[in-house]
């Protein structure tokens, strides 16, 4: 009864990594996900890894169930209650559009019908003062409308979003209480609880998404719970949250939007865990089948964001590890546009039919097909031989494209790889401007099924000197779930100015948020001392984007507060080249995070003993044409082993490409470090 299990259920695969904390034995498995039946894949993964459910102490699950339900519009029937006059805010949205020159683009649908949006007479102003009090007869009229909807089966959940509720929640609380009494069966989401920040559309659509997902998540969680219990599991289990922390499953059901980037966050946590061994700042690159996700880790800390666009025009507010997602993965489809320019993505062959070489009916050339054609992938050892790749199918798919471009299929494959890499390089460049860092001093941590094949070329273009590839790059999300801490983030929008704010005022906010965050962790059964930190998002009065400054302690004094304003100015200058000394600074958001700082010392992520001999393979590269290069199996390489590229290092779940003259070294943890030799423009 000492096994700790991390599972990531993605669209394509369900991954598992587990550790028996008593015997230090590792378990791992990777199985195909089964659409609509996550439980079966989970049970299968446990079975394949040889884990007896009775022996599990803790299980942590990362899942995309919420995100998929949003994208496929498979949630609950929701009614929206808001301040009178603002019923259309979810439909008006922000007015900008996805494409510059497209008359035929339709703006996103906000998860509910306009007829189910109701206004109530009440109003709070920008200072939090009540302008129009909420009268009970308002609610009575509303009650009749909702009852009608209930009667016709058109209502399962209610989202309440009143203007300025982030400053004064009393009206929302009153509506919530009334709903609970009058409609005990409905699931209720209140905006000041879901996302206590300003901007009524963003807060509103997040509250709607919360309501939309709650019934579904509850069902999902009870389904998994029941299934696990039936198999003999008697431990506790949690879900991975977007902020890289975990939440007890039964509690997580109440906060579905917190789970939206659950799997991706796991990847970043694993990337950070292994990357910190390289001892510098990190950019994590999680490249899977359909997308590539980037995160920046500076000084050992991942960055946090408050918002994520689930699709264009649907920005959801929840604390998340800051991620940039681009449509560049192994399954990204290469095509030639009408002007004869090669493009890769954003369309993806996904898992079904998958790349042409999967032999499941895909005919369009993908990045994976190009990799196979160039000799970078072993057709007989994809996922350790679980999937056999068809080089003929890859070649014919790429040939079609090559014909259109009038070049050989090998050149076309190289072009596909270059283009995919360049897409990622450009995304990283834009990202680094956004966060104000210089990527050249960073280490690129690459994982996901396809990351290790592309990392060196991407690093070289960005003048990044070092690439780190964690052990089992294809299982990083599951590993991240396994090592994740209990974590709770609480954010509030405030209106504080550097000219008038004093420490006492700020302390009151900090204490309130800290109490909420700590309460949440106590509910999780955490005992003992929590690590509580706070950050202030500030900007010069008049600007619209904030920078975060960490506070040294929650027990803040006036000098500390002055110091924080000073650090903001330094940050601003560093990012943008100037500061406005003496200008008024606004504190816009306060974030308090509580973490259970349990230090888990993990045994080395041990390798399976294997005697797969080193081999040779023909490989084609842009810089050096066709070469015959050695192929090593990762499990045969001991710590401190080192070699110089070109070479290929195969692993059960991913393949690493070491380019010409780059030096690779195996670290104690089992990670590979690649020193990038020189620039090749």
């Amino acid at each position: 009864m000492a096994i700790r299990v991390g599972i990531d259920t993605g669209g394509t695969f369900t991954d598992l990594v587990a550790i028996d904390t008593a015997s230090s034995q590792w378990y791992r498995s990777k199985v195909s996900s089964i659409a609509g039946e996550p439980l079966r894949a989970i049970v299968h993964a446990l079975d394949l890894a040889g884990i007896d459910p009775e022996q599990i102490e803790t299980l942590i699950l990362g899942t995309t169930v919420g995100t998929n339900a949003l994208l496929q519009r498979r949630g609950a029937r929701v009614a929206y209650i808001t301040s009178k006059g603002f019923e259309d805010v979810p439909f008006i949205q922000r007015g900008n559009r996805k494409f510059h020159y497209d008359l035929h683009w339709s703006k996103p649908k906000p998860f509910l019908n306009r007829r189910n949006c109701f206004g109530i007479a009440e109003r709070v102003d920008y200072r939090g003062a009540v302008v129009t009090p909420l009268e009970t007869q308002e609610l009575e009229a509303l009650g009749e409308e909702l009852e009608k909807l209930c009667a016709s089966g058109d209502l399962q959940a209610v989202a309440v979003n009143l203007l300025f509720s982030y400053l004064n929640s009393s009206h929302e609380v009153a509506v919530g209480k009334w709903l609970e009494q009058r409609f005990p069966r409905l699931s209720i989401s209140l905006s000041h609880q879901v996302a206590s920040i300003w901007r009524e559309y963003e807060r509103g659509i997040t509250t709607i998404a919360d309501a939309y997902l709650k019934p579904l998540l509850r069902e999902f969680i009870s389904g998994i719970d029941g299934g696990l219990r039936r198999s003999g599991f008697c431990g506790g289990w949690s879900l991975m949250k977007s902020n890289g922390g975990t939440r007890l499953a039964k509690e997580a059901a109440h906060e579905p939007v917190q789970l939206l980037l659950s799997g991706l966050a796991g990847g970043v946590m694993a990337g950070k865990h292994f990357g910190l061994e390289a001892g510098c700042d990190l950019i994590t690159l999680d490249m899977g089948g359909t997308s590539c996700d980037l995160a920046v880790i500076t000084g050992g800390h991942e960055r946090y964001a408050a918002q994520f666009d689930v699709e264009f025009g649907l920005p959801l507010i929840f604390p998340t590890i800051e991620l940039t997602t681009i449509g560049a993965g192994g399954g990204s489809i290469a095509w030639v546009d009408r002007g004869g320019f090669l493009r890769v993505g954003p369309q993806s062959a996904c898992a079904d039919p998958g790349p042409a070489c999967y032999g499941q009916g895909g005919v369009e050339p993908t990045v994976t097909d190009a990799n196979l054609l160039l000799g970078r992938l072993n057709p007989d050892y994809f996922l350790g031989g679980q999937v056999r790749l068809d080089p003929g199918a890859a070649a014919s798919a790429v040939s079609g494209l090559a014909l259109k471009m009038g070049i050989s299929k090998e050149d076309a494959a190289l072009a596909i790889i270059d283009m995919a890499n360049e897409n990622m390089v450009n995304a990283i460049r834009v990202r680094t401007v956004e966060v104000g860092i210089d990527p050249r001093s960073y280490c690129l941590v690459a994982f996901g099924g396809a990351g290790a094949l592309h990392a060196s070329a991407i690093a070289r273009r960005l003048k990044i000197r070092r690439v780190l590839i964690p052990p089992h790059p294809g299982l990083c999300s599951a590993f991240g779930a396994l090592i994740a801490d209990l974590r709770s983030d609480h954010v509030a929008t405030v209106s504080l100015r550097s000219t008038t704010v004093h420490a006492g005022e700020l302390r009151a906010h900090l204490d309130r948020l800290a109490a909420a965050a700590c309460k949440e962790l106590k509910e999780e059964g955490v005992e003992g001392k929590l690590q509580v930190t706070a950050r202030l998002a500030m900007r010069y009065a008049g600007q619209n984007y904030e920078h975060e400054v960490e506070l040294p302690t929650l027990d803040i004094t006036d000098p500390m507060l002055r110091d924080a304003f000073g650090r903001f100015e330094v940050l601003h200058e560093k990012f943008y080249g100037y500061q406005l000394a003496g200008e008024v600074i606004d504190i816009v958001n306060i974030t308090v995070s509580a973490v259970d700082p349990k230090q888990r010392t993990l045994p080395r992520f041990e390798r399976h003993a294997t005697s797969r001999p080193a081999g040779l393979r023909k490989l084609r590269m842009r810089s050096s044409g066709e070469l015959t290069v050695p192929v090593h199996h990762r499990d045969t390489l001991p710590p401190n082993w080192t070699g110089v590229g070109p070479m290929i290092i195969e692993d059960v779940d991913a393949t690493a490409l070491i380019e010409v003259e780059d030096r690779v070294t195996v670290l104690e943890s089992g990670s590979l470090v690649i020193e990038i030799a020189k620039e090749q423009p």
Partner: protein
């Protein structure tokens, strides 16, 4: 030389990415909401001959104009006069610009002491010291009333602030702090563009990069020509109206004949009314930008946006007309209002050639509403340029979007909670306006209604609207979309009235510097999009849903769609057969395409 093709694509992607990086830096540091919410700026790169080599996807109205502005600056300054670390500023509409608030900043980029080209940004500086706060005076009669006019002058001289110019700017703008912050955001953006471009040149070399960018332009041009070749040859005519110029209350005609001949489009505006005394005149750059915008909407959006893609599109705009204004006429509304109308007439003309790609008219106005005063909380002066989103036109197979920014820009609206925190106004309501979408087989998108309550002792307001009388046209039997309006209910009154009635302004849609007071309500209605196709052909079930979702009123369902709704046992049902034969009140303005 096919590897070159891949290299070229990579170069194009890299250059575009540099422009995006410039945009990110600008958006993050700018002070005015018009930058960071409104995306009212442009970031682009030019070669040393002033040809645009790349741009990022920001404000489309400025993208088309930027090529003229840069060309003018190079001609006037002389390419040999640019030094490392210089930044030039320019906003003169009579020197290749769009309208006065649009400031172009141009920075030369050198590789090993040799000029490669330029990083360029255009940004909308919100307050430039004209007769009305926020520059958009609806009743200006000379450019001198519209704000501070800058010929190309140095803003930065070899890396140092050119203080003389800064002092003039800071003295003449009403909110100098914002100007200072926004100009610095633009400078930061140019710095990013310059340093990324230098990095790229170090890797590729200057002459190779110049050759490749030339090749990229040729390819973009060839692609655009192929796109145009796919449009049937012919001459397509269209006209529409600006309903007044703010000085005399008479409509002004914009007329176009668009010829498609092989791979070339010629938009000839001959026959357009003379330039006006009021501020609705468009400069040639505005007319060209609007024409490009319309053409881009009807061709493949993937065509690389460099100088090449503009070449096959020619514009004939007779000087002295509404579409090619001559000094010293006012022109501030030419870019925000007339611009929309020019896009509309070119699209309307081309719609006859490619009806399946076209759409009915969008609301096509910014509903520009400007206000300023002393904030009672802070005692500080504030100014704001507020605009509304409009309904988009329906097309051959879909309804129009509700409440979108008109196609000339890509601006986001300002959230009510942000708005009220900044300005002494309480927003009473913000709704989609039922029935404002033009009826049709496919329905036009809805416009909005916003009611503002003034919460300061006094406030100065100005407006520059259009589409108050002449609605956005429908297509193929679809009805026109709803019109705009701006009206006021004085504190203590019970009705909303037009500004002509209350303040005796010459026109109801264009005026400046009206003083309103605490408790006054201002109602702003934006226009809806035109409908597409015969409304009687719209399936009755869809009309029923439109009624249930309050897009269409039961009256309009009966009158325009011929669908009579019956209420029974708490549900609505429809009765199609008898009523649909009844001739409804059909929309006034619909354009029928022959094709």
């Amino acid at each position: 030389m096919q590897t070159d093709s891949t290299e070229l694509t990579l170069l194009h992607n890299r250059l575009t990415s540099i422009c995006r990086e410039m945009g990110v830096a600008m958006m993050k540091t700018a002070y005015s909401p018009v930058f960071n919410e409104g995306f009212d700026f442009v970031c682009s790169l030019f070669d040393r001959e002033g040809r645009m080599i790349a741009q990022a996807e920001y404000n489309p109205s400025m993208l088309g104009a930027a090529i003229y502005t840069v060309e003018w600056m190079l001609n006037e300054i002389g390419v040999e006069c640019f030094r490392q670390g210089d930044v030039w500023v320019h906003n003169d509409p009579y020197r290749g610009g769009c309208h006065l608030p649009e400031h172009m900043l141009l920075k030369p980029v050198f590789h090993k002491d040799e000029l490669f080209g330029f990083a360029a940004t255009i940004g909308h500086i919100a307050e430039i010291g004209g007769k009305a706060v926020g520059a958009l005076a609806g009743d200006a009669t000379e450019i001198y009333q519209e704000g501070l006019r800058l010929p190309p002058v140095k803003l930065m001289d070899r890396g140092e602030h050119a203080m003389d110019i800064w002092k003039i700017l800071m003295t003449n703008h009403r909110t100098p702090k914002l100007t200072w912050g926004d100009l610095h955001a633009m400078l930061g953006s140019l710095h990013i563009g310059e340093s990324r471009l230098i990095e790229l040149l170090e890797a590729r070399g200057l002459s190779r990069t110049l050759d490749e960018t030339k090749e990229l332009m040729q390819r973009a041009e060839a692609w655009m020509r192929r796109e145009i070749e796919a449009i049937p040859d012919g001459e397509y005519r269209f006209e529409d109206w600006m309903e007044n110029d703010g000085i005399t209350d008479e409509p002004r005609r914009i007329k176009v004949a668009v010829s498609v001949r092989g791979g070339e489009i010629i938009a000839d505006f001959t026959g357009t009314d003379p330039q006006t005394r009021g501020p609705i005149n468009a400069t040639y750059a505005v007319t060209a930008a609007a024409t490009y915008n319309a053409a881009f909407h009807l061709t493949d959006p993937q065509v690389p946006r460099n100088a090449g893609c503009y070449r096959p599109i020619k514009i004939i705009a007779p000087p002295g007309t509404l579409v090619n204004v001559q000094h010293p006429a006012p022109e501030i509304g030419g870019n925000s209002e007339t611009h929309c109308r020019i896009i509309g007439v070119v699209m309307g003309a081309l719609a006859q050639a490619v009806p399946e790609r076209a759409a009915a008219a969008d609301g096509a106005t910014g509903c520009n509403f400007l206000f300023g005063g002393i904030h009672p909380d802070t005692g500080e002066f504030y100014a704001n340029y507020h605009f509304e989103n409009v309904g988009w036109g329906a097309a051959a197979n879909h309804d129009g979007n509700d409440a979108q920014c008109a196609p000339l820009a890509i601006s986001r609206n300002v959230p009510v909670e942000v708005f009220e925190t900044r300005y002494p106004i309480l927003v009473r309501s913000l709704r989609l306006l039922t029935d404002s979408g033009g009826a049709g087989l496919f329905r036009g998108g809805l416009g909005t209604e916003r009611i503002l309550e003034i919460r300061a002792p006094e406030m100065t307001v100005s407006a520059l609207f259009d589409r108050m009388r002449i609605p956005p046209w429908g297509l193929q039997g679809g009805s026109a979309g709803g019109t705009t309006s701006i009206s006021i209910r004085r504190a203590g009154d019970s009705d909303f009235r037009l500004f002509t009635d209350v303040f005796h302004t010459v026109t109801p849609s264009k005026f400046s510097n009206i003083i309103v007071r605490q408790g006054d309500l201002i109602r702003i209605v934006s226009s809806g999009g035109g409908g597409y196709g015969d409304p009687f052909q719209r399936p009755a079930r869809k009309v029923l849903n439109d009624v249930l979702d309050r897009y269409v009123s039961p009256q309009q369902a009966r009158n325009l769609y011929g669908v009579v709704l019956r209420e029974g046992e708490g549900t609505l049902s429809f009765d199609e057969a008898p009523s649909r034969t009844m001739a409804g009140e059909r929309g006034a303005a619909s354009v029928n395409l022959k094709a």
